[in-house]
């Protein structure tokens, strides 16, 4: 025992310990330089700034509570203290049409992105071997010079086509900027990658309704909601908007309470709310939807013509779907014929009724057919573009709009990078982590490792950015200019925009500004790049993009351009007054030719060796895993499992009993493509032949809160795809499970499963 | 201080010595208060061990208890009113719980009064030098006269010895 510990021991604990800690940090602070405040705030008085949430693609409006505080910041490469406005709390923007003042859990935790202790504080240049995590700090000038020199030399060698830009779907001017940059440079369009990317549903909506878009649900006016596997109240699509509608559907209308039916094989947080929870075999939801339509048609509850184009996509629709009578599909779906009939009658009788599909049904080899089947059901129920049904958010008349073409996510990512006409010389990565979020069979890491130069704009060292040679850290969303065009969640056109809510903490720069800087540096050599991006800054680009809105009837009415611009910022964006739908895409030959047969999915692996269908699902805490580095999210109990800081495999208690697996036992999950280990969670709401696992944990490299925690279910998935879109069929893997013999780390917040435990002994 | 005393092995002879001394009181010119008895254990069944039986100690204890209880109740209800905060939907001065504390303080008052009364009544602590003989620790009983009048010493010695004293001693401070 050294003297210090002895002193600590002999003292009455806390007081002395606290004092010494204070002294230590106090000294540290005393040695720091103090920057002159760049803004003046009254201490203790909060001001509210509008901003936008970037935790998912919904694009909710934010109000940020900013208060004066003292922060350790980096300025000109030097750390020092500054009195500055600090974001203290995020709230929903009450005016914003998507979220109307509300905010979800992950949105709140956006604050911890800005203040995350693991954020990259300055540009980094790799010094050690790839993946070693050894970097040295470089200045912005050096970093941007390196990137532009690289790109310049590649271009001068005539290999501009060998530069790839990897990102997620950017539904804002950043998307436009990247698109223009790449086009002018001569590189192929950006490769978009998201694990839960909904490409199948967009494709289906295009085929059925002519809209390449996710739908918006008018739940508030619906009397009957049937959802096929969609976790729309927790993780999927515009969650806050859907929750708002759901609340109104349930208790917002005097004397009228809508019914909600959920069809799935593993009870999701959304399914837990259902008045009627219907178990159907994963992948057979399309059959069930078509069978519901068959009952309506055969009992003349709905006219066949109502389905119009959407019905035409389904084989046998005009013949009355006689192959899909409830009796014929009951064995395939696992839903009793009588129940199908009753549900069909209820749906037809309680219109406006709406059907929702997402998640597992679409992540199958027959995903597109399932989606088209549900679309046809919606059309038959007359739910398209009608109150209480589905809508498609119109696009605002901005000067430039990000492309809405098929997000090229589909197909194996590595395949696309490898199959690029010319070998990739340089890869730019922004807001995408494919090394984490792709099956092991795709060999993404190995592919990326072969690329000579990788630059990342990431704010964190994750599995992908650790491979980068150069890291150019982005601002957080609270520190940068933000804008967004919501794809769904509103029935009127919305274009959100907001100025930075606070000054940057670290020596970071916004990606769009870096890209503009690179463009200008390339300019002299590569004129098209500079002329395609004529703006000095992203702010300027935004202003010019929003300028045309001044002439449209919308939430902001201002004559002068400057007034308009400042008001739009103050309001957090512009939203249209009308709610008329956008023009449909014209029916193409390809569209009208597509007719699918709704059938059973094909699963990977033999049913005898791999008896369980393995369903990964978006986690309520981490989405696709990108929020796993936020301590609030790690400690928020998952509402169904009540787990914190954990990963788990959901197993039906009866199955578990058969395999002598107890709660918390470490279980090995084996597919044909790999194995993983995770503790078992006995979940009463999962089918006996299904095991499920949340996506999000299992990061090898993602800061102190996420690294080395749990297992990543994506890694053991098969590479099967939905054939038409090429989207990964992430629910098509079969697995086997067995008890390892040791206990796993499963941290649960909740105790008993039942309100009145029948078995008093059960914990 | 001076004393003449005898040490007795058994209570009967001690009692005899006592009686002899009392008989001689008037003749030798001393009074009851000057007769000294010291023992190593109480002899309450014998007359010599029954001096000064009158005491108000039980009454003192009871009174102490009463005072403790009243003070306790006053103090507790005073503090409750002095900083009146609502808790659990109860009144400010809660009678039932205060009863418990009043009871405890009653008992405390009684106990402390008993102890104090004992100390005062038994004249303790008193570390001054007094007539004493460690022999009482061996079961001997000391009977004697303090400050015997001049000239009575011999008679006292005789009487003490005649009662069967093991030893007759003189104590001079």
């Amino acid at each position: 025992m050294d003297r210090r510990t002895f002193l600590k021991l002999s003292s009455l604990g806390g007081a002395t310990a606290a004092l010494s800690a204070c002294d230590k940090s106090g000294k540290l602070r005393g040695q720091m330089i103090r920057f002159i405040p760049e803004e003046r705030l009254v201490p203790g008085v909060a001001i509210w700034k509008t901003s936008l949430c970037r935790q998912c693609c919904s694009g909710c409006g934010l109000e940020v509570r900013v208060m004066e505080g003292e922060a350790v910041v980096t300025r000109h490469g030097q750390r020092g203290l500054m009195q500055m406005g600090l974001a203290k709390k995020l709230e929903g923007n009450p005016e914003h049409p998507v979220n109307r003042g509300k905010l979800c859990a992950r949105g709140h935790a956006g604050l911890q992105v800005t203040y995350n202790p693991d954020r990259i504080r300055f540009p980094l240049r790799r010094t050690g071997p790839r993946g070693s995590g050894q970097y040295r700090q470089v200045g912005w000038d050096e970093a941007v010079t390196e990137l532009s020199t690289r790109l310049g030399s590649i271009s001068s060698q005539g290999k501009a086509g060998s530069v790839a830009f990897l990102t997620r779907a950017l539904r804002d001017q950043r998307g436009v900027l990247v698109q223009r940059f790449l086009a002018a440079y001569g590189a192929p369009p950006a490769v978009r990658f998201e694990f839960f990317d909904d490409a199948v549903l967009r494709r289906a909506n295009y085929l059925s309704f002519g809209r390449y878009q996710l739908p918006t649900f008018d739940l508030a006016r619906a009397n009957y909601v049937i959802s096929f596997g969609a976790d729309f109240l927790s993780t999927w699509n515009s969650v806050v908007a859907q929750n708002r509608g759901y609340g109104a559907m349930r208790q917002g209308r005097p004397g009228l309470r809508g019914k909600f039916v959920q069809v799935e094989a593993r009870m999701s947080p959304t399914g837990a709310n259902a008045d009627e929870w219907v178990y159907a075999k994963p992948g057979s939801e399309g059959l069930l939807a078509v069978s519901l339509a068959q009952v309506m048609l055969s009992e003349r509850l709905r006219p066949a013509e109502a389905a119009r184009e959407a019905g035409a996509r389904i084989e046998g629709w005009t013949q009355g779907l006689s192959d899909y009578s409830p009796e014929k599909v009951q064995d395939q779906t696992g839903v009793a014929a009588a129940r199908i009939r009753r549900l069909a009658r209820e749906l037809a009788a309680h219109r406006p009724a709406v059907a929702i599909v997402a998640g597992v049904p679409l992540a199958q080899t027959n995903g597109l057919a399932n989606a088209l089947a549900v679309n046809a059901l919606n059309a038959l129920l007359d739910a398209v573009e009608n109150p209480g049904g589905i809508f498609f958010t119109p696009r605002p008349p901005l000067a430039y709009l990000p492309s809405v073409e098929e997000s090229s996510s589909a197909k194996s990512l590595a395949e696309r990078i490898l199959n690029n006409p010319v070998p990739i010389e340089a890869l730019l990565v922004y807001e995408a982590n494919p090394v984490f979020a792709s099956p092991a069979t795709w060999h993404v890491r190995e592919t990326l490792e072969k690329i000579p130069f990788i630059a990342s704009f990431g704010s964190f060292i994750d599995e992908t950015s650790i491979l980068a040679d150069l890291i150019l850290p982005d601002h957080s969303h609270l520190e940068s200019w933000v804008d967004h065009v919501p794809e769904s969640g509103s029935t009127t056109a919305v274009a959100s925009v907001a100025a930075p809510a606070m000054l940057p903490l670290h020596h970071t720069r916004a990606m769009p500004d870096v890209l503009l800087d690179v463009a200008h540096r390339l300019g002299p050599k590569l004129d098209p790049v500079e002329s395609a991006l004529p703006w000095k800054s992203y702010q300027e680009m935004l202003q010019s993009a929003f300028e045309p809105l001044r002439n449209h009837a919308g939430s902001v009415k201002a004559q002068k351009a400057d007034d308009f611009w400042s008001q739009v910022q103050q309001n957090g964006g512009w939203w249209s007054e009308q709610s008329d739908p956008p023009p449909k895409a014209p029916a193409t030959a390809e569209r009208s030719a597509t007719v699918v047969k709704v059938a059973q999915p094909e699963l990977d692996g033999d049913a005898r060796d791999y008896p369980f269908n393995f369903l990964p699902y978006a986690s309520q805490q981490f989405g696709d895993g990108s929020h796993a580095n936020l301590p609030w999210m790690q400690e928020m109990p998952d509402v169904i499992s009540t787990a914190m800081w954990s990963t788990w495999v959901e197993i039906n208690p009866r199955t578990a009993e058969r395999l002598s697996i107890r709660q918390g036992d470490l279980v090995e999950v084996r597919s044909q493509h790999g194995t993983l280990q995770a503790p078992a969670l006995l979940a009463p709401g999962i089918a006996p032949d299904v095991v499920a696992m949340p996506v999000g944990q299992g990061h090898e490299q993602y800061g102190r809160y996420a690294s080395g925690r749990g297992a990543n279910p994506i890694k053991i998935l098969c590479a099967r795809v939905e054939p038409e879109t090429g989207a990964l069929a992430w629910a098509a893997t079969r697995v086997n499970i067995r008890r390892v013999g040791t206990r796993g780390k499963l941290v649960l917040f909740g105790g008993a499963l039942r309100e009145s435990p029948r078995n008093y002994r059960y914990r | 201080m001076q004393a003449i005393y005898g040490l007795y092995r058994d209570p009967d002879s001690a009692q005899q010595a006592m009686d002899l001394l009392q008989q001689a009181e008037r003749g030798l010119g001393f009074n009851d208060n000057q007769i000294l008895v010291l023992t190593g254990e109480p002899y309450e069944d014998h007359a010599f061990g029954m001096q000064n039986k009158k005491t108000i100690m039980p009454w003192m204890s009871a009174g102490g208890g009463l005072v403790g209880g009243l003070l306790g109740f006053w103090f507790i209800s005073f503090t409750q009113r002095a900083y009146p905060l609502m808790t659990g939907g109860m009144q400010i001065v809660t009678k039932w719980p205060d009863g418990i504390l009043t009871y405890e303080l009653t008992m405390l008052g009684a106990i402390l009064t008993t102890v104090v009364t004992l100390l005062i009544a038994a004249r303790l602590p008193d570390w001054r030098r007094h007539v004493f003989d460690p022999a009482i620790g061996e079961g001997k009983i000391l009977i004697g006269v303090t400050d015997p009048p001049e000239g009575s010493q011999d008679e006292l010695r005789r009487r003490l010895r005649s009662a069967g004293a093991v030893e007759v001693k003189e104590f001079i401070a």
């Binding site: 600090l86 709390k89 208790q251 009870m267 309520q620 301590p631 109990p637 509402v639 800081w645 709401g685 | -």
Partner: protein, 249 residues
């Protein structure tokens, strides 16, 4: 001058309020927005995996999940549980130092400075909605910058719990007094209520017959949590409706 000022102050008096909440289980979807909003507003410490595994996680509001039935005929009930701000609070009377007491607005207040950590209140609370700082809370820099300056940070050995965001109540009251007006229903909300996307949580003055919360408290669906204990909770639960009731089937 001075008497006039005095008179002015006398002339205006904020009506006494009786804060309460209604929780609509029919609307609650278990999205947990309230849980994180509460963490952000009230500087609740994140205890980390090890402490969480030892049962020391703190969530002033939690969403209880109860299964009913067995697969495939299974249902789940979500029940957000926060401090019920009981009028006859079992936690208050047991505190030896008045750290837990009933304030004039009927709130079950917790005075952190007075708490010495007997943890008696937490045992007495039948709703188990008191959380204890078993270890000294720490925020990895710069996460400390997220702390709300209006809410004190608790140290080790202190019991904490839902306050109905008393800092927001006070701020609103001060504002209203300054502007010499009564508080409006829904003028401000605790963090959980403000962010609840389905509006399952409603906050307001139970003594105001026109407030949303007092009207909801009179609903047919209204119930209290563990009503037989006689704790007089100020949180009303609106039980889940049944679609079948309304369909008469």
């Amino acid at each position: 001058m001075a008497p006039a000022k005095e008179q002015n102050q006398k002339a205006f008096r904020l009506k006494r309020r009786n804060w309460g909440m209604a929780v609509d289980e029919d609307r609650c979807t278990g999205c947990e927005a309230c849980v994180v909003a509460c963490h952000a507003e009230n500087n609740i410490a994140t205890v980390g995996e090890e402490q969480a595994a030892r049962g020391r996680a703190m969530h002033w509001i939690r969403i209880e999940r109860y299964y009913e039935g067995t697969f495939p005929d299974i249902k789940v009930k979500y029940q957000p549980v926060l401090c019920q701000q009981c009028d006859n609070a079992p936690c208050e009377a047991v505190c030896p130092t008045y750290a837990s007491y009933h304030n004039a607005e009927g709130l079950n207040a917790q005075i952190y400075n007075r708490c010495i950590g007997t943890r008696y209140c937490a045992n007495a609370c039948p709703y188990e909605d008191r959380y204890f700082n078993f270890v000294n809370p720490a925020w990895d820099e710069p996460l400390n910058l997220q702390l709300n300056p209006d809410v004190s940070v608790r140290s080790v050995g202190i019991m904490e719990k839902c306050t109905f965001c008393i800092q927001r109540i006070r701020a609103a009251e001060i504002n209203a007094e300054k502007e010499k007006r009564q508080l409006k229903d829904g003028e401000f909300n605790p963090a959980c209520v403000q962010s609840c996307p389905t509006e399952a949580l409603v906050f307001g003055d139970l003594d105001d017959p026109e407030s949303r919360v007092s009207r909801l408290a009179k609903s047919n669906r209204a119930a209290k949590l563990l009503p037989d204990l006689g704790t007089k909770p100020k949180v009303t639960y609106l039980r889940r409706g049944s679609w079948y009731d309304e369909q008469n089937t």
